[in-house]
Amino acid sequence: MSAVSKSADEIVYGLRREYLEKISAEGNRIDGRKFDETRQAVVNINFVPRAEGSAEVRLGDTRVLVGVKVEQGEPFQDTPNSGILTTNAEMLPMASPTFESGPPSEDAIELARVVDRGIRESKMIALDKLVIKEAEKVWVVFIDMHILDYDGNLIDACSLGAVAALLNAKVPASKIGAEDYPLPINHVPITITFAKIGSIMVADPNLEEEEVASARLSVATNENGDVVAMQKGLSGSITQQELFSAVDTSIKLGKDIRKRVLGR
């Protein structure tokens, strides 16, 4: 890329950032939402019947597909009495002109790890019930998240997709001569992400908002209103007040999404 086109990009970026900061200071968002309003989330479960569980999620114009595979494997040596959970994100080049093919980027790794943390730390899946033979054979739950169309906030779209897919996933016990059974579930975590634009925290940022944000904060809560995982991202800072108001909003929005979108 030539130096000239880069500085042109920079100018456009600066203008966009200025504009979004200005309208948010006036109490508005680019798509007319309130600061604590998420985009419409549509969850389409069992999109891939071949998988043990799956969900396609549209969060505004962001679209992801999450597939869950459950297979037999060896437990980790230090947890002989526990099944295994692994999470992976594929930021497919089809989803955005800025995504490249190849090994997972830093962003894809962070995305997968943040989604994983929400599910793991909330103890959503009863991993202790996924043991086939102690220290020898357990069920391994693979969560694979495909990003199909990128319009911001992949963390929430993927988290919602992963949770929806897990809620509807089956353990294929018929493969070992038993009956298939639903994946054992303890809790239902919901992750809400905020972008800081100027001095305003907006929930569920779209791509335009995400691009000009100085900081990002994701908060995962369970149905009891406890916080189970958090992650601050981007090279900006947040204040203590912003943190706690985001926590409060996450608890509120989490309850709403759990009920309205997941029927829980």
Partner: protein, 253 residues
């Protein structure tokens, strides 16, 4: 309510309210910081924080490479967190794993808030963090030492970033988890702030905190950060004092 299955029978706080290493709930492990410990690096620092031993080297600002990573308006901060194979109980396979990549990313982002990156366009400031021995809390120990190493390299910053962690063990919110507490505790909240502006620049959390517990945890870490910030300053002063006395020694010879 402790939800750790078979592990809940491990007691981490005794009848007198003390932890397995004798600390109170709001007590840090011993911290020692040393500045200018490496010869070739532009800046360096070494930190011992409980059983953690972490070495940090800073190179730069220098021309960013590969070229496409250059930013025409500012420097990029390139932190690389790496654990030595022998730093943990079971040998860790050398090289960056997914955890290290994520930690490197959040540390870079945290330092970027503090450094006046706009003064060094098209350059990179490389921060190499080597965990020689790990004892829970390596990322914040590394980040705390990295700030000191950046100052040692003469890089302008609005303040030094201070890392600290709080967590929950036996249902109680406590400061600065050690390894056993981290393994068998119920929550961990690594955090970093810029004391001068009171900004939170790194924040991660896993486990289970109620809203109130989270508030207690943030407060504990913030208080501790003031203390750690002083240790950073003292470490830097100590370096220049020792240089001063060396010079005087030369003069009297």
């Amino acid at each position: 309510m402790i939800e750790l299955g078979t592990q809940s029978d491990i007691k981490l706080i005794n009848e007198e309210g003390l932890r397995n290493d004798g600390r109170k709930f709001n007590e840090l492990r011993p911290i020692r910081i040393e500045v200018g410990v490496l010869n070739r690096a532009d800046g360096s620092a070494y930190i011992e924080w409980g059983g953690n031993k972490v070495l940090v080297a800073v190179y730069g600002p220098r021309e960013a490479f590969p070229k496409h990573t250059q930013n025409p308006s500012r420097a990029i901060i390139n932190a690389r967190y790496n654990m030595a194979a022998f730093s943990v109980d079971e040998r860790k396979r050398p090289g960056p794993d997914r955890r290290a990549i994520e930690i490197s990313k959040v540390i870079s982002e945290a330092l970027e808030v503090a450094v006046f990156t706009e003064q060094f366009p098209r350059t990179s400031i490389d921060v190499y963090i080597e965990v020689l021995q790990a004892d829970a809390g390596t990322r914040i120990a590394g980040l705390t030492a990295a700030s000191v190493a950046l100052v040692d390299a003469g890089i302008p910053m609005k303040d030094m970033v201070v890392g600290c962690a709080a967590g929950k063990i036996d249902g109680k919110v406590v400061l600065d988890l050690n390894k056993e507490e981290d393994n068998f505790g119920q929550a961990d909240l690594p955090m970093a702030i810029i004391p001068r502006t009171d900004e939170i620049v790194l924040l991660q959390m896993d486990g289970n905190f109620s809203r109130e517990e989270l508030e207690q945890a943030v407060e504990l870490s913030k208080k501790a950060a003031t203390y750690i910030s002083n240790l950073q300053r003292e470490a830097l002063m100590a370096k220049y004092k020792s240089q001063e006395s060396e010079k005087e020694g030369e003069r009297s010879e």
